[in-house]
């Protein structure tokens, strides 16, 4: 068997052991169904927030101090204007009309101070010169009352019957909407960040098990450490893939599980190079992001001598991932700036940025170059991790950096 063949065989032996040892345990079920717990808490939080918001919405009012026919007309105009607002959150507070008192200004002020009802804004005085009081957070409510006065006056003069009758036809665009590329790009960057945040951190404790139960000496004697490290990476990546396939299949089969907004957002994504190629590249960049971050985490984690040290690493790991996401997200919104060039070249941010570019630009060759560049850096990170492990943990005094172990003879 060739040197490469032997390396692959040894790597796969380690990867298989890690995959099996992880998947065939009860703990894996907890890992697999963690999103259910996460989603449940999210749903509970969402329901609570919704209840709090809707409760507030029911109490909030806008008041117009108008009388008689003008009050009835204003209510009709208000009903017509509200048709524009599809979302209850966007609509202005509910309108109440009241007969103006002799001192309308004092009456308006009293409305604002009413303890029983939260009044956001009050209009009083003649409709052609209405006075509008509004609370600091109710600018829009004040604007709405001003518009309502204007439209009520117009209706008074022209009548409430519609002057035009529109025919609405729904069609899809045949070209990407301006700005859609940026949205798709950001989505790609965020999706990779989200997945790596969920899945890549577990690599950090990859070698800890072997160090703890002394198996590392057996492995180090039998196979090159490069195979051990690559095997660990592939084994945990296999677990991550299983996780993705499980949830991907579930969500695709039960579309109702996906929030309506997210489903619509996904459907509206129009990557520049077409969905099939984008999907392929997205998977490639997710793999690279996982491998690059995983190789760094594995190398650093291998130096840890206790579980406590490994736990301490979780914060820097999260910070690194958030930083790379931030860099990728900023760079993708200004793809021609120096920051974009840096994000494209810097190994840890490159997969994020390039996934975003795949959504924005139809050119294929930059991705071929980027994937090759990232692959080289995976090898470099593993080589550095192995070198540090060999010197620091196995106490091999060899100061030579063993490039050949990766690219040539052992």
């Amino acid at each position: 068997m060739s040197r490469l063949g032997t390396l692959v065989r040894q790597t796969m032996t380690i990867a298989r052991r890690d995959f099996v040892a992880t998947v065939f345990t009860p703990t894996f079920l907890i890992f697999l169904f963690a999103p259910v717990v996460m989603g449940s808490f999210g749903a509970i939080g969402g329901l609570g927030a919704n209840a709090a918001t809707s409760g507030g919405g029911e109490k909030s009012r806008i008041v117009a101090l108008v009388s008689g026919d003008q009050a009835r007309l204003m209510m009709q105009v208000d009903a017509r204007l509200r048709r524009v607002y599809r979302d209850a959150d966007e609509a202005p507070p509910i309108l109440t009309t009241k007969e103006p008192a002799t001192d309308a200004a004092a009456q308006a002020r009293a409305q604002i101070d009413d303890r029983g009802v939260e009044v956001a804004a009050v209009a009083y005085g003649p409709l052609d010169y209405p006075q509008i009081l509004y609370t600091p957070r109710a600018t829009r409510a004040g604007d709405y009352l001003a518009e309502l006065a204007e439209q009520t006056l117009r209706a008074e003069r022209a009548g409430v019957a519609p002057l035009s009758s529109a025919t609405k036809i729904k069609i899809d665009r045949t070209t990407p909407r301006l700005g859609r590329g940026k949205e798709s790009g950001f989505f790609a960057v965020f999706a990779i960040f989200f997945l790596t945040l969920l899945l890549a951190g577990q690599v950090v404790s990859g070698v800890a098990e072997e160090k703890g139960n002394k198996v590392i000496e057996i492995l180090a004697a039998a196979v090159p450490l490069e195979s051990v490290f690559f095997g660990k990476l592939l084994g945990t990546f296999g677990v991550a893939l299983l996780f993705l396939v499980f949830w991907g299949t579930l969500i695709s089969q039960i579309g109702t599980l996906m929030p309506a907004g997210m489903a619509a957002g996904l459907a509206a994504l129009t990557p520049a190079m077409g969905m099939p190629m984008f999907t392929l590249l997205f998977f490639g960049y997710f793999t690279m992001a996982y491998m690059l971050l995983g190789a760094v985490f594995l190398g650093v984690g291998a130096q840890a001598s206790s579980v406590r040290e490994i736990q301490l690493l979780s914060l820097p790991i999260t910070l690194i991932q958030v930083s790379m996401f931030g860099l990728g997200a900023i760079a993708i919104s200004h793809p021609s700036g120096w920051l974009a060039t840096f994000a494209r070249v810097f190994p840890l941010s490159s997969p994020y940025f390039m996934a975003g570019r795949a959504a924005q630009s139809p050119d294929l060759w930059p991705h071929v170059v980027a994937l090759a560049w990232q692959t080289v850096w995976v090898a470099i990170f593993v080589a550095v991790g192995v070198h540090a492990f060999r010197r620091g943990v196995l106490q091999s005094g060899s100061g030579k950096f063993r490039w050949k172990a990766l690219f040539g003879r052992a």
């Binding site: 068997m1 032997t6 065989r9 040894q10 032996t13 052991r17 040892a21 345990t25 098990e209 072997e210 139960n213 002394k214 198996v215 590392i216 000496e217 057996i218 492995l219 180090a220 004697a221 039998a222 196979v223 090159p224 060999r390 196995l394 106490q395 091999s396 005094g397 060899s398 030579k400 003879r409 052992a410």
Partner: protein, 305 residues
Amino acid sequence: MHDNLAISATGLVKKFSGRRVVDGVDIAVPTGMIYGVLGPNGAGKTTTLRMLLGIIEPDEGHRTLLGTERPRSVSDRVGYLPEERGLYPAMKAREAVAFMGALRGLPLRTGRKRAVDLLEAAGLGHAADDKIRKLSKGMAQLVQLLGSIVHQPELLVLDEPFSGLDPVNQERLEALILAERDRGATVVLSTHVMAHAERLCDRLAIIAKGRRRFEGTVAEARGLLPMQATYTPRNDDAHIADYLPADAQHRGDGWRFTVPQEGSEQVLSRLIGAGYGISGLSIERPSLHDAFVKIVGRAALEDQA
């Protein structure tokens, strides 16, 4: 280098934090033999073995393993039982043996079949499907040894294989080692228990303070010390010491002394001539233990000097 050497090393040096824990060790292990690497605790045995196997690199010196200067390239032909035993606790015994074979290039399916046979032969057939964490320390150690021979290596390196084993398991292990040698494998084992080395080793090296102090057969090691005679006279009195060698010491009813280089005949003739007679006489060759203590003690004195 000889073609019939499984291991050849010259001038191996290893420094940890500036201290030379292995200081110029030479070793030549002929193929098909059981070769012992003996030495007191901290002598540098394990470090030497790790360098020979390519787990760590020597700071100085050269080594050849199974004909190559790149020991890692022949790792599939080598079996290794490290001093610090290590197995995955959640693995079944059968799987652990097969996994260790797979690391050395043996297909898993073949490994599983051989694992069952080996476990049966070692008296552990009943534990084949037990997880390692359920086995006793001795059983787990045997499982690990089986894992190091499942791929039928040409060279088997065992670092302190007997430590932690009860006498029954020690005997099983000795049988396994002899069976490996009979199969044609070269076995290198490190130990500081002389009884095992004396029974098993065809040749041995004694390492102390990071240096090789002796290399040869067990008989040659024992031959480093003169034979000891225990003599019991028929008649004893205060003047008998005048007829005995200068190092003679009274022990019980008799005397113990070093047999002179020219033999014991002249001493005995003098004693018989003086009328002391011979009630009992035994001449003993020194044990490997005696030779080891002498060699290691001399090494300590040399280093102090």
